[in-house]
């Protein structure tokens, strides 16, 4: 699975199967600070992500 973290502008590759919420916990990302985009679709935190899914964690925090 590929995960793009917008705030760091970095890609991560990892083996994972579970909810987006648990993925964020694994990555140490506060769920209040990101939107989860799975395969270019906005999804909620209880969406399951696995296999070849591509995730983008869009940063809610921006600007000044």
């Amino acid at each position: 699975m590929k995960v793009f973290v917008e705030r760091d502008k970095s890609w991560k590759e990892l083996e994972f199967s579970g909810t987006c919420e648990s993925l964020l916990e694994l990555l140490g990302v506060n769920s209040e600070e990101v939107l989860v985009i799975k395969n270019n679709e906005l999804v909620s935190l209880d969406e399951v992500c696995e296999g070849d899914d591509e995730l983008k964690l869009l940063s809610v925090v921006s600007g000044g």
């Binding site: 705030r7 985009i37 809610v60 921006s62 000044g64």
Partner: protein
Amino acid sequence: MGCSVCSDKVVMSGFCKVHFLDYFEKKVEDTISRFGLLDKDDRVCVAVSGGKDSVVLLYLLNKFGYDVSALAIDEGIEGYRSETLDFLRVFCSSYGVPLVIKSFKDETGRDLDDMPSHGSMCNACGTFRRFMLNKYSQGFDKVATGHNLDDEAQAVLMNLFKAQLDLFDRQGPITRESDGFTRKIKPLYYLREKEILAFAFLKGFDVPFVECPFARLSFRSKVRDFINSAEVINPGVKDNIISTFLDLKISNDSPVVTGTCEVCSFPSEGNICRACRLKETF
């Protein structure tokens, strides 16, 4: 559990894509109505940065049929503002909204990058931004900003932590009428940052992600982290901060007394306003 309206897959705030967009717009309309933020024939100056909040705000006020113009402030921070201004020019043009851009450099003679820090660039930035927003919104009935629930909860705690209770007057969905100040409104007041980003994403606004280079050093960023951590542990923290604040504000509302700055003639708490005092340090 599906969308609370139609049982389709939930994407945000308990709604599917379609009903989330409806909920969002209705929430803005309700805030405008509930607090009397706008009359139909008001001329509204929308303070825009090119970030998600102000872009969404501008889009909606324009869609709702208000007479809007956009005002952007270029602080002169290298590698930061130019990208969002480029986006703004295209966005405003596509919706037929006039855009005016004013810069710190033209106003003060310096970019923010060239100003003395006095410990934090945020102080100078905030002072000049507020001064310029007020100055260049004269002649409009209201100035609208994209401040959201997260921003306001952070500001309430920041002012509390710094014992700056006089700054509470800036908080709330609408400021009081005061000579020399364009009345400021915050139509996104009850919407969370996540919801605003979700709206922008679903509407296809390709808002550039940029972060002020000074932001991560700021006191606000620490308060934001604190509140977001608390919200995860105890959902509802942000709503509670805002509702408690508004209850206290209403019960303690007292008139703001300001004088006139001897240098620039704009409103001032003392003989010389904060902006002019800062300029004296250059």
